[in-house]
């Protein structure tokens, strides 16, 4: 038997245990775990790792002699559970947020009323590198700019949810949400059936229906494709997985060509017109005629075809302005401005480094702050004040002063913990949650679940897979 009552951290919320013992939602899971010994659990952990490896759900690490070694993203077999009641609040909070963000994007690329009325400073938008001037004035199908969003949530010390960031460009990780569930079905079939867990497997179907609905041509079977940077991209597995699940061709930039402002794919029987592109390429690589001229990943003329309305791009071009970390601080104001509602989900307090007073406040409390680049991702360029050395803090200050617009600061929040199987023992590790929201002509749909990312290093708050993070299956029950 293993010790099933790990020592709780008084400063953070544990998802499985309270001071009074196991939480209701985890009771049946704990019962199953109680019947397993070390060997059983380790065997299940190994079985899960083998399944990931054999399916090719891996990334490649290159050694000095350029020999690639395939590694899996670590998967912890103990699920993370959210009760239905809490989930409904999360769901309505995300729907509200996306509605406002969509209205913001429609506004900022057209009338810019939110700027004219002084809700958001014009300078903030003008200085955002992801505000794409080339698509100003564009009309997108059904006025939807965000078709798929990954909203990162964390829980504070009292279990309250906060939005940490909005991913509105090419949010990744949804294949892990789906595959984690498939793996859990194989290793804990009885545990899943006892707990009546909400399904996540309908995601590809919902998404495919949305993609089809965006076709500019009114035809029964529009040509929808997934555009990938190629087999060397770290998320390539996800691209192939989604293409296969939706039954759509997986194309690279070199497979497409633009002629007369229409996009075609090169097939063995000639050129076929493409109607909708779910692109997993960032804006700046989409079209070398408009953005990076040396990019071989995109398609020359694509933006022109897009502006003419001959092809739909998912997500729309230019969404980066809405998930800029400095603009993030204004999302609650957007909700009030566009929807006349109070935000259901809270933001983490955010200090703008451009603002002198806020900057000085942060500099005086660096050890309690996390500093982030406004357009960074993957945990890169982040300074955790409580872990950084004196030298790192000093260098951070210099970088902030050189370009304050490029940084924000937030107080360090102790993310909630969930027990994980580490070296055959249950240990508490910090987690976040990324639910995936899909927006189509019929509104916003959120699959009941999400990707729980876990910081596998003891005490770490950095959950990114690129920084040693892993993942868990996420269950909505009740």
């Amino acid at each position: 038997m293993i010790d099933l009552t790990p020592k709780l951290n008084p400063n953070s919320w544990d998802e499985m245990f309270s001071n009074k013992g196991v939480r209701n939602s985890y009771r049946k899971v704990l019962q199953t775990l109680e019947n397993l010994n070390h060997e059983n659990l380790n065997q299940k952990q190994k079985q899960a790792a083998d399944l990931f490896m054999n399916q090719g759900i891996t990334f490649t690490v290159y050694s000095d002699d350029n020999q690639g070694i395939e590694r899996i993203f670590p998967f912890d077999i103990i699920p993370r559970i959210i009760a239905q009641k809490e989930w409904l609040e999360v769901e309505s909070g995300i729907k509200q947020r996306l509605k406002a963000l969509n209205l913001f994007l429609e506004d900022i690329y057209n009338e810019q009323l939110i700027v004219k009325e002084g809700i958001i400073p014009a300078a903030l938008i003008a200085s955002c590198p992801h505000y794409i001037q080339e698509v100003h004035g564009i009309k997108v199908p059904h006025n939807i700019h965000i078709h798929i969003a990954g909203i990162d949530l964390i829980r504070g010390a009292k279990g309250e949810f906060y939005v940490l960031e909005d991913n509105l460009r090419c949010p990744s990780g949804v294949s892990y949400m789906l595959e984690n569930r498939e793996i859990t079905k194989r290793i804990f079939p009885e545990m899943l059936s006892f707990n009546q867990v909400s399904m996540v497997g309908n995601y590809p179907m919902i998404f495919h229906n949305i993609l089809v609905s965006l076709s500019p041509r009114n035809i029964s079977n529009p040509n929808v494709v997934l555009l990938t940077p190629g087999i060397y991209n770290s998320a390539y597995y996800e691209h192939t997985f989604l293409a296969r699940q939706m039954g759509i061709p997986l194309v690279e930039g070199r497979d497409l060509v633009v002629s007369n402002n229409k996009v075609y794919m090169k097939t063995t029987s000639g050129l076929h017109q493409v109607d909708v592109i779910y692109r997993r390429l960032d804006d700046e690589y989409l079209d070398p005629l408009v953005f990076k001229p040396d990019s071989a990943l995109g398609v020359p003329g694509l933006i022109s075809a897009y502006k003419q309305g001959n092809v739909a791009l998912v997500n729309a071009v230019g969404n980066g302005v809405a998930d800029d970390k400095a603009v993030y601080a204004y999302v609650p104001e957007m909700i009030r401005y566009y929807l006349n509602e109070e935000p259901i989900l809270n933001n983490v307090p955010t200090y703008q480094m451009e603002n002198k007073e806020e900057r000085e406040l942060v500099f005086a409390n660096m050890e309690n702050m996390v500093i982030k680049e406004t357009n960074g991702s993957g945990g890169y360029g982040m300074i955790m004040g409580n872990k950084a050395s004196e030298k790192e803090l000093k260098e951070g200050k210099i970088a902030i002063l050189a370009n304050p617009r490029n940084f924000i600061a937030q107080p360090i929040i102790q993310l909630s913990t969930v027990p994980c199987l580490i070296n055959g023992e249950l240990k508490l590790r910090h987690v976040d949650l990324r639910p995936y929201a899909l927006c189509g002509p019929n509104g916003v749909e959120i699959v009941s679940g999400g990707l729980t990312r876990v910081a596998l290093t003891e005490g770490s708050l950095v959950v990114n897979s690129s920084q040693g993070g892993g993942s868990k299956d996420t269950w909505i029950i009740g």
Partner: protein, 313 residues
């Protein structure tokens, strides 16, 4: 179907077929090397000649060196055609066409890739485990063909895969056949015994079938009949050309381009050339010419086929 994906499926199957043929030959030679056989002047030479870029000198030095051959053929990174490198290339093509191949096929190629990349494989090949490794790999390739056959949808992808597979198989049969007729100067009236031909026939999976159709004709002529002209032998030249023809019909059925017509005619001439050769009265010189010409024409056909269907860059 996307040209790039069709290209990927074509090459995926060429590489896997090459690995399959090479492993079968290696397995045959390795097992026969345990017998102290008289008159074996070639050793691993036919294998090294067709499947590697070794120079003549290197080949002479290594044609009887089992340890070297096993490692060079199976897992040498410097050998472009080692099983390891072929599987890596096959997997890369499979990755590029992953949305068009089945999950079962992908997982099988992927697990084979991981096996080939296990760091202790070269060491194990130096031990008594070598034979069980070769046997496992042979079975994995057989399983690949089974999974391909059972799970893949019949359609364009299947056709491109099958054309690639049969072009590769046909080229292998021609080359391995040449490797055994060249040392005897294509003498069709000679009296080489079954032990001589056994290596060739086992390498092409055709030994048992050959024995079952045993006749009074001398082996030197009978083997030609079997490996080139036997329509019921899955590795014969005529059988593989027949399959290519069948899938070309499917690919060309809605294609009215003049290039397609030209290619179809080009292949028709190649197939007829073999089909209407009178093997009963074939001379050694004619056999040599026929094998050389068929090989050259098939390589040209493969190039033109790629230009027509895969020119996506």
């Amino acid at each position: 179907m996307l040209s790039r994906v069709a290209d990927g499926m074509f090459w995926l199957n060429r590489y896997m077929e090459r690995a399959d043929g090479m492993l079968l030959t290696l397995n045959t030679f390795y097992i026969l090397s345990f017998d102290k056989q008289m008159n074996d002047s070639q050793g691993y030479k036919p294998l090294l000649e067709h499947y590697t870029d070794l120079s003549k000198n290197q080949m002479i030095q290594s044609q009887f060196d089992t340890n070297f051959v096993l490692k060079y053929i199976i897992c040498d990174n410097q050998n472009n055609n080692s099983v390891k490198n072929l599987v890596i290339k096959a997997r890369e093509n499979a990755r590029g066409s992953q949305d068009k191949i089945t999950k079962e096929l992908w997982e099988h190629i992927n697990s084979l890739y991981h096996f080939m990349n296990s760091p202790d494989l070269p060491k194990k090949l130096e031990t008594h485990e070598a034979l069980s490794i070769i046997t496992k790999l042979n079975k994995d390739l057989l399983l690949y063909n089974g999974i391909l056959y059972v799970t893949m949808p019949r359609g364009l992808g299947w056709c491109f895969s099958s054309v690639g597979k049969h072009i590769e198989r046909c080229l292998q049969t021609i080359s391995v056949t040449q490797a055994y007729y060249k040392p005897i100067n294509y003498n069709l009236d000679g009296d080489q015994d079954l032990l001589y031909w056994r290596r060739l026939l086992l390498s092409l999976s055709g030994y048992e079938q050959y024995l079952k159709s045993y006749s009074n004709i001398s082996h030197n002529r009978k083997v030609v009949q079997h490996v080139i002209f036997n329509r019921d032998f899955a590795h014969s030249v005529i059988y593989t050309l027949g399959y290519i023809d069948k899938y070309l019909d499917y690919l060309f059925k809605d294609n009215n381009l003049s290039e397609a017509r030209t290619l179809k005619n080009q292949f028709g001439r190649l197939k007829s050339y073999v089909e209407y050769t009178d093997y009963h009265h074939l001379t050694g010189q004619q056999l040599e010419e026929m094998l050389n010409n068929t090989r050259a024409q098939l390589i040209q056909f493969s190039t033109d086929f790629s230009k027509l269907f895969f020119s996506y860059t």
